[in-house]
Symmetry: C2
C-alpha cells in the first residue's frame, strides 16, 4: 500500500516545490540514468534534490531500495501499456487469433515509446534496466522478475494461441530469446559500434528498428521444430 502524502498537489506545480519523496525520486532517476547507479553518490543526489542526506534513508531505507522505486515508477506503466495494447488488438481481432507480428508489436511499441521519451531518461533508462538484469545481487533480479511476471504470462497466452503447435516449454524458450534480443537491442546504445557500421540516431530510427526487429523475431518464433542435428560441444579434433 502506498503511504499517503501530507497534502495533495496540483499538476501545474513547480518541481522544486514538490514534496521530499518526489524530489528525491526525480533527482535519482535523472542521475542514475546519466551516470549509473554506483557512480551516483547520495550526497550529490540529495544536493540535486535540495533535501537532506538522511532523507533518502528515511523515505526509502537504502540506496538500492531507492533504485527499485525509480524502476517501478517507469516499468509498471510500461508493462501495463503493453497489456492494454495487447487486449485492444485482441478485441479488434474478435475470435480470430492474433498474428505473431501483431503480438510482438504490442510488446515493442510501449518499450520504444519509453525509449524515445527524452524527458524521462529515454534510452538511458533502458540501459540502466539492462544492467539491473545482470545485477549480482539476487534480490534485484527477483524484483524485476516480479515486475515482469504478469505481463509475460499474459503475452505467453497470446503467443500460445498464435502458435498452437509449440509446446509450453518450447514457447518458454523462444519467448526468452525474444526478450533477450529486445532488451539487448534497446539497452545497447553503443552496441551498434560492434558491427563497425555507424547508424546515426535520427528520429525515425525507432520505426526502422521496429520494422527490422519484428520480422526477425516473428520468423524465429515461427521456426520449425527440432530439425537441427545434434551439435557436438566436446572439443572434437
Amino acid at each position: 500500500m502506498p503511504e499517503q502524502r501530507p497534502a495533495r498537489r496540483t499538476p501545474a506545480m513547480d518541481a522544486l516545490s514538490q514534496d521530499t519523496k518526489s524530489r528525491i525520486l526525480d533527482a535519482a532517476e535523472s542521475l542514475f540514468m546519466e551516470h549509473g547507479f554506483e557512480a551516483t553518490s547520495l550526497r550529490q543526489l540529495t544536493a540535486a534534490a535540495s533535501v537532506n542526506l538522511a532523507a533518502v534513508n528515511y523515505h526509502f531505507g537504502t540506496k538500492e531500495e531507492l533504485f527499485q522505486a525509480v524502476l517501478t515508477r517507469r516499468l509498471d506503466p510500461m508493462n501495463q501499456e503493453r497489456i492494454d495494447l495487447l487486449e485492444r488488438y485482441e478485441r479488434q481481432a474478435g475470435t480470430r487469433p492474433l498474428s505473431c507480428e501483431k503480438i510482438l508489436s504490442a510488446m515493442l511499441i510501449p518499450a520504444l515509446r519509453l525509449s524515445r521519451d527524452e524527458r524521462r531518461g529515454g534510452k538511458d533508462f533502458l540501459r540502466v534496466l539492462g544492467r539491473a538484469y545482470a545485477d549480482p545481487a539476487p534480490f534485484i533480479r527477483n524484483f524485476l522478475s516480479a515486475q515482469y511476471a504478469e505481463m509475460i504470462s499474459r503475452f505467453k497466452d497470446a503467443f500460445q494461441k498464435a502458435l498452437p503447435h509449440l509446446t509450453k516449454q518450447e514457447l518458454t524458450w523462444r519467448l526468452h530469446f525474444v526478450m533477450g534480443a529486445l532488451s539487448y537491442t534497446l539497452a545497447g546504445t553503443d552496441a551498434l559500434k560492434l558491427m563497425a557500421q555507424v547508424i546515426p540516431h535520427d528520429r525515425d530510427n525507432d520505426e526502422m528498428l521496429l520494422e527490422r526487429l519484428a520480422p526477425f523475431l516473428a520468423a524465429g518464433l515461427k521456426a520449425p521444430l527440432g530439425d537441427t542435428k545434434k551439435l557436438e560441444l566436446a572439443s572434437g579434433d
Copy 2:
C-alpha cells in the same frame, strides 16, 4: 604488449607460489564473478590473494583496469576459438557456403563451453560480461567493442556469404539481434524464472539450449525482407 614477468614459472606450480600479479588476477576473477565488480573491495581481494593492498594499484593501476585484465584473459581465447572453429568449418565445406546454422554453432559452442567451465567462473563470468556491456562508463564499452571487433567482422563476412540477398545494413541489424539474444540468454541465469517455469540446470542443458537457440536465430536471419506493414508508434486511439 604484455609486460614480462620477473621469472618464468613451471605449469605444475602451486597457486600460492605464483607471482603477485597472477595471484591478484585469480582472486579477482573468482570474486568479481561471485559478487560482482562493485561489491568486491580491494581489501578483501588482496587478502584473498595474500598480497598487500597497494599491489593492485602498482600492477594494474586502478580497480577498473584490473577488471579489464580479468575480462581479456577470458574473452580473448573465447573469440579466438570462435574464429578457429569457423575457419575449420569453412575448410570442411570447401567452396560451398556454410549454412546459417553452422556459422551460428561456431559462435555458440565456444561461448557455451566457457559457460560450462565451472573452474573459471562458469555462468557467472557471462553475467559479469553482460553487465559490463551496459556499463555507464564509456571506456568499458569501448574496450569490449575492441575485444569483439575482429570476431564480429569475421562472422559478418561468413553470414554475408550465406545470406547474399541481405544488404550489409540489414545484416548488421540482424547480427545485432543475434548477439542480443545470445548475450541475454547466456548471461541471465535467473532470467528463466521470468517465464514462471523452472527448468533445472542439469549437465545436458547446454546442448538443449543450443538446439533451441540456433534454429530460432537461423530462422530470424533467413526471414524475408520488409513485408511488414508500417506499425504506428503514435498513441493511436
